[in-house]
Point group: C2
Chain length 335, copies 2
């Protein structure tokens, strides 16, 4: 497989043009292109250019409104910002509501952002990073399509349901983890299938419910939650927080209503932001640095996100490298 290198600016511009050519407004195209290239640049190709055909498919099928204008609502007596994404992609909805969430959490100590009626196909760390850059710690949750079997089960029910947590750092970029409730991300299994690689034996089951290392069989069967029943509990929590709690679909409902165009399903996202100094942590950020320093005294222990930031520095300096086939596919969607 031959790879091609392009600068992050070139890549962002290409993706934005591709989205615009397929019906996105300039603003939406820019917001979505930024998160796609952020993922690629941070070394997460399963949420990068590889996803562009899915985004485009959902625009072409008419499932997603590329010109949607998110509606943000706040109420003085509530500690909640709600945003209706109006059937568009998730990044513009978050962008529209972010400053309200940051303001509310900074003033009151804790606030929630409930995002509904969006199509989420991106990584969650890109949602949290700008919130944490404002000195807040934050959590985010989103559902997906039913690909993951509950612990003990053999049929898909939960989404891969990522949960992200971010913590601000005084002299560094935020510490952020963003982890699927499944052992592997869906995109990882898809990329392994494309590249003819096998998966680890704990990643999934075939359609008959038997463990398999063949990614093609897993795609027809079910993925497994990480850490057995504990990861399954987290997947269930994400369903409830990003579904029932905010008035959106569960992953299994998205599976029933989605038009199967290969793009993202409709769903919701919950973000919780907290201001340490209003919760008692007067010296919270410096205190946390002591814990991070302790971690660093053990060889082979890394802070979550360290690898992503290293990738980012490399990408900013040297550009991003993607398979030629992926780039060709994206370019073919320009018209």
């Amino acid at each position: 497989m031959t790879d091609v290198t392009l600068s992050t600016t070139e890549a962002t511009d290409l993706v934005a043009r591709c989205l615009s050519a397929n019906g996105c407004s300039k603003e939406v195209a820019a917001d979505v292109a930024n998160v796609i290239i952020a993922a690629e640049s941070d070394g997460c190709p399963s949420h990068g250019l590889f996803r562009v055909p899915g985004y485009v498919a959902s625009l072409r099928s008419g499932k997603v409104n590329g010109k949607a204008r998110p509606q943000v609502e706040t109420a003085d007596d509530r500690n909640v910002v709600t945003v209706d994404g109006a059937g568009g992609f998730a990044p513009p909805a978050l962008a529209a509501a972010r400053s309200s969430l940051v303001e509310l959490a900074s003033k009151r100590g804790i606030a929630a952002l409930s995002i509904i009626n969006v199509f989420h196909f991106s990584a969650l760390w890109t949602d949290l990073e700008p919130i944490c850059e404002q000195g807040l710690c934050a959590l985010a949750f989103t559902c997906y399509l039913p690909f993951v079997a509950p612990a003990g089960g053999s049929r898909p029910l939960f989404g891969t349901n990522p949960m992200a947590f971010g913590w601000p750092r005084p002299r560094d970029r935020p510490m952020i983890f963003d982890q699927a409730s499944s052992v592997a991300a869906r995109g990882e299994v898809m990329i392994a299938a494309r590249d003819g690689r096998q998966m680890r034996p704990d990643v999934g089951l075939d359609a008959s419910g038997q463990p398999t290392i063949d990614p093609n069989e897993i795609l027809k069967g079910a993925m497994l939650p990480f850490g057995g029943y504990k990861g399954s509990g987290i997947a269930l929590m994400v369903e409830l927080l990003a579904g029932a709690l905010i008035g959106e679909q569960f992953s299994f409902e998205a599976g029933l209503t989605d038009n199967q165009d290969g793009g993202p399903p409709r769903g919701g996202e919950l973000v919780i932001a907290m201001e340490p100094s209003l919760l008692g942590g007067d010296d919270a950020l410096e205190h946390a640095e002591k814990l991070f320093a302790r971690m660093a005294t053990q060889p082979n222990v890394r802070l979550p996100a360290d690898r992503r930031y290293a990738n980012r520095r490399r990408s900013e300096a040297d550009g991003i490298t993607v398979p030629k086939s992926v780039l060709k596919k994206v370019r073919s969607l320009l018209m």
Copy 2:
């Protein structure tokens, strides 16, 4: 090993008398005895009578104030309830602040409870159940002593750091999971060591950092997070939420300051409560029942807490059964 059966009332009374005899006020003794017997009754002996000697040791050493009066603070412009446990056990601090948290979350959609200066030795689900019974969904986090190595490491740094999540149900007791960030709970390893049983190979490392199935070696070495780096991320998150965020110690700091009396370390707890109808989930509880019903169509899939509630019904009908040696030990602490 011979077992003894006693009613939950007898057991609660015994524990309360034992705590009172060792310096607890009547109120503190009752609050703590209730959570100890709730754990025993729900089928979790590692947080039951087995822990009484630890509670008593911490009273006898003077580390814990058995007569502490928790101080609850709220502020109109904040969405946070803070409680200073005044150096006592955690259950009375939570009991003192619970109604303020429930009121704030019910009115504003989301609220946080920050509990500091307490000694936490109990299960978290008992903290969440009464909050969920008020129709709120809730999260809880607490640190412990440094027993768990971060992913990639070999030396203890994190606590076993449980995280609990609860969801109210219209016609049933709440769905609640309460899971350590480690593969096993500390008490499980201690009980296996006592009973001469081996652990699974992923539970821990010996003092030289090598995997071992000997619980005695694990107690001298390090426990492992569940699900590799993902469970390690959650353990780190719990440190930050129940430590730095609210102005309390990390587990490794508790390890440095604790007097090693075998009782609980000083630490904090963060509870977040949310009211679904104020976050957009107008029909959230009935909606969630649909997901639970879907789970139930798969054989061998259980809701978290189902087994606990089954145990509770059995305990309420038939009493609780504990090893004679445990009961003897508790009785010996009565004077």
